[in-house]
Amino acid sequence: MRITAITLGITALAAGAALADPVEPMSVKYDDYGAIETSLSGMPGDAVEGKKVMSSRGLGNCVACHEVSALADVPFQGEIGPSLDGAGDRWNEAELRGIVADAKKTYDGTMMPSFYKTSGYIRPGNAFTGKAGTEPLPPLLTAQQIEDVVAFLLTLKD
């Protein structure tokens, strides 16, 4: 019993350490097709959280541009990008991670914003204030939020 408790404690500690040390946006390694092999936060994603990130205006707001049948309760889904239904069949985890972190590495010149990028912008702003921001800007999503979104996308099977 005692031993188990100690082991658990160590696991939690290790996890905590990983959480505190995500891959920085500047250091992410994309392969030639724009995919990212390993978790950005060092932790697995949580699909339930990912669902929230995708639906809420203040976070990913992915539904501004995409329809997702699994999010039918979210009103006003956009039509800019393709429907994400079946995305978990079309792409593997590494590819989805790459698309969410910086879709421009998968689709050259795409309109989809880069969610894990902090510099290289033209007239970067301070969020939606209209005022100037200073690079590096905080990325649109954190490493863990990206992992959560990827976990949710993987559940979207036809």
Binding site: A64, P113, I122, R123, G125
Partner: protein
């Protein structure tokens, strides 16, 4: 609330949701006061290089209810401001003891066709002038009066009064000669992907007009209807305020209304609407 009321309410909500979200009649025609026939779709000017198959007024993308408000001046809330500006027109202001009327008499005669060709080159000043810049120049140098704020209520109302004298006439701004460099600057801006979202005007208004971005039905971002009355803020809105909001929404450092950058952008955006009717004051959500 009893059960029947509750379910009826639920039904109404479902229906009105459907109406607000989707139903815009993109095939509608606009005749104002059963008299002024507006050109709401026109061939795209050659200098758009085939980027748009045709040019479309923003009016087409609004809901049936909003469209109707623009069909009759009695229903158009923007017309109140036109009346106010007509009073202002005759009001003496400034050190010279003059009003607009002192020099321009009846706006129906003196201002007919003016809106349609702005922004335009002013040879004496050697600059591209928007209508707002010209109005302020008259206030300052002709009347000895204080300039109005670039997007102030006085200014948008006066712009609306002047625009009404050109309603139904085709927008026809010049893009060559002395304005060519400014036009190029505006074009460059139109295709620049600003801000942390890295979005250009063209991403939304050229590549995706007709599509929804969340709840918003994207138009071509034309300015033939400006200043527009918005139901959202119940006042007339200047084109530069719209530009400012659209750039801000890309998480960018925006530009100021009246700045040289927005003057250039206005010239270019206006030229993308050459051939559409002057519609101001139009009505938007």
């Amino acid at each position: 609330m009893n059960k029947t009321t509750a379910s009826r309410l639920a039904l109404t909500l479902v229906l009105s949701f459907g109406a607000g979200a989707a139903l815009a009649d993109e095939n509608a025609d606009l005749v104002v006061n059963e008299e002024i026939e507006m050109t709401v779709r026109a061939p795209a000017p050659a200098y758009l290089d085939g980027h748009l198959p045709e040019i479309l007024s923003g009016w087409l993308f609004r809901s049936d209810e909003t469209q109707d408000l623009q069909r009759d001046d009695f229903d158009n809330p923007g017309m109140i401001f036109v009346d106010q500006a007509l009073d202002q027109w005759a009001m003496v202001d400034g050190s010279e003891g003059k009003s607009c009327a002192s020099c321009h008499d009846d706006p129906a005669d003196s201002m007919a066709g003016v809106r349609a060709v702005y922004p335009k080159w002013n040879a004496d000043a050697g600059e591209v002038r928007t209508l707002a810049m010209q109005i302020n120049d008259c206030r300052e140098t002709q009347m000895g009066a204080k300039k109005w704020g670039y997007t102030s209520g006085d200014m948008t109302a006066m712009e609306a009064l002047i625009s009404v004298q050109s309603r139904g006439m085709p927008v026809n701004v010049a893009i060559d000669g002395p304005v060519a460099a400014t036009w190029e600057q505006g074009k460059e801006m139109y295709y620049t992907r600003y801000g942390q979202l890295e979005l250009s005007c063209a991403n939304c208004h050229e590549d995706n007009y007709g599509n929804h971005i969340r709840a918003d039905h994207l138009s071509q971002g034309q300015i033939n209807g400006f200043p527009v009355y918005r139901l959202k803020n119940t006042k007339l809105n200047a084109a530069h305020d719209r530009f400012k909001g659209c750039v801000r929404d890309t998480r960018a450092e925006t530009f100021d209304p009246g700045s040289p950058e927005f003057v250039a952008l206005e010239l270019y955006v206006a030229s993308r609407g050459n051939g559409l009717s002057v519609e101001a004051p139009s009505v938007r959500n």
